[in-house]
């Protein structure tokens, strides 16, 4: 193994090694290898059914791979969930927010689940950060899609995770909400966090990520830093490729 690769492995926050997964004998992922280092933000692209969400769910521990291993900061996701789950925050196009609870009740619930100390103070701090402090006593049902996504972000960050997994986080968001989310991601990276996101919105994805990886036909076919590629040309080529696959 090259020195650079060995160094990369040692700095890796997320190590995905030879991960394969099939559903009812239909392969979804075949021998995926991917290392993500600290403060890196990875945009995982692929057409529908490429396996992006499946890979993310395996990293999050919601799904078990048929083969291979996934580890987070050296801890096995499958074997040591009590060590890996506190390190992870997940945002998806579904908010995972209870509509009948108020904004602060939702956050309080998740804070207690993660064993956060000083729950009241943490919730106040988070709600002020995401601009929902004035809505703290309102039920989650009254929030618009954009505000609900902010609450989902607060939920994902309540326990101060080191890794953020985002599955199609820009789905259903208007330009302003998308811009806000991009800002959140940037702040997370600046604070030393690591992000892996999947998105169909390649343009926005490339804006917030410093690395782009493409999944196709169950394998990783492209992996490069965004600084090393022409993002506009990549977006154009990717879109026409996606159209041809559909």
């Amino acid at each position: 193994m090259s020195e650079e690769k060995q160094k990369g492995r040692n700095d890796a926050v997320i190590e995905i090694s030879s991960v394969s997964k099939a559903f009812a004998a239909r392969a979804v992922l075949k021998s995926i290898d991917l290392n993500v280092t600290r403060s890196q933000s990875v945009c995982l692209c692929g057409v529908n059914g490429a396996g992006k969400s499946t890979l993310l769910r395996i990293v999050a521990g919601l799904l078990h791979a048929d083969a291979g291993t996934v580890s987070l900061n050296g801890y096995s996701v499958r074997g040591e969930p009590e060590k890996t789950k506190p390190q992870l925050g997940v945002i998806s196009h579904k908010s995972m927010i209870y509509p009948d609870l108020t904004v602060s009740e939702n956050l309080s619930f998740f804070a207690n689940l993660y064993g956060v100390k000083g729950v009241a103070g943490r919730i106040t701090e988070l709600l002020k950060d995401v601009g929902l402090f004035s809505y703290r006593y309102d039920k989650a049902t009254v929030l618009s899609r954009g505000l609900l996504q902010r609450l989902a972000i607060a939920r994902a960050l309540v326990h101060r995770p080191q890794v953020l997994l985002a599955d199609e986080p820009f789905t259903g968001l208007d330009a302003e909400a998308s811009k806000y989310l991009v800002g959140v991601f940037a702040n997370f990276i600046k604070a030393g966090g690591t992000i892996v996101m999947t998105t169909h919105n390649t343009h926005t994805g490339l804006q917030c990520c410093d690395r782009v990886v493409v999944l196709d036909k169950h394998r990783l076919i492209f992996d490069a830093r965004t600084s090393e590629i022409d993002t506009a040309a990549f977006t154009k080529d990717y879109l026409s490729y996606a159209r041809s696959r559909n």
Binding site: K85, V90, M96, Y98, P99, D100, L101, F109, L113, Y114
Partner: protein, 234 residues
């Protein structure tokens, strides 16, 4: 242990608050229960049937169907916006999730019991003759059996409530027999001296019936708790 209590309490109170605030299921349960009791009372009157036999039957039928409604609800709240994944992503043991939801179902059924039992006693003019503690024990044991099996299967048949009814009712069949006989003995429909003889051979006496229910509940509560992890995790 502290972490178990923290997460158990969080899930329990979350579900209780949601149910009491949304009032989605309890009113329906009460209406359904009243309807069942009312129809059986009218049939009893029309056919000159014995009220102390029909009363226990009305109670368990109302209990079973109301129980099904309660259990369907327990995972409906988690379906919305993939909330179940929010629970599974947290470092919470799945057994804790099961126990918290089981207790919620038991509490909801207890609230239903508090409303429906006086209605049955009044409508059917029956009384446990001072054996209120025995009545509470029998109803609580039935509650635990229904809730254990219902909580497990409500997690896996989230999208098909009719399947939940089939599973829960069939599996509860063995428990329903001694449970019914226990109430029949309590309400005096079967004199104690006849228990365990002839056609009542199936249940020896009140203590045997209760013992059977205790064993049933213990076995199924533990089995459902152990199997719950396989059900919610892929």
């Amino acid at each position: 242990m502290n972490y178990f209590w923290l997460s158990f309490k969080a899930i329990f109170f979350k579900d209780i608050v949601i149910e009491l605030r949304a009032k989605r299921v309890l009113p329906t349960m009460v209406v359904l229960g009243m309807l069942i009791v009312w129809i059986l009372r009218i049939s009893c009157e029309a056919a000159s049937g014995s009220t102390d036999i029909m009363g226990p039957a009305a109670l368990w039928i109302a209990f079973l169907f109301a129980g099904l409604l309660a259990q369907e609800r327990s995972f409906t709240t988690e379906q919305h916006q993939d909330c179940i994944y929010g629970l599974l992503l947290a470092p919470v043991d799945v057994g804790t999730i099961f126990l918290a939801k089981l207790l919620v179902n038991i509490v909801v059924l207890c609230i239903f019991e508090i409303i429906i039992v006086p209605v049955v006693l009044l409508f059917f003019q029956i009384s446990p003759s001072g054996r209120w503690l025995d009545l509470t024990i029998v109803l609580l044991l039935g509650n635990i059996g229904i809730s254990s099996i219902g909580t497990l299967f409500s997690a896996i048949v989230q999208f098909s409530s009719s399947l939940l009814s089939i599973i829960v009712l069939v599996i509860l069949l063995p428990m329903m027999i001694p449970a019914t006989f226990a109430l029949l003995l309590l309400f005096g429909a079967i004199p104690e001296e006849l228990a365990g003889t002839g056609a009542l051979a199936f249940v020896g006496n009140f203590k045997t019936a209760v013992a059977y229910m205790v064993v049933f509940d213990a076995i199924f509560a533990v089995a459902c708790w152990l199997l719950f992890g396989f059900v919610v995790q892929e």
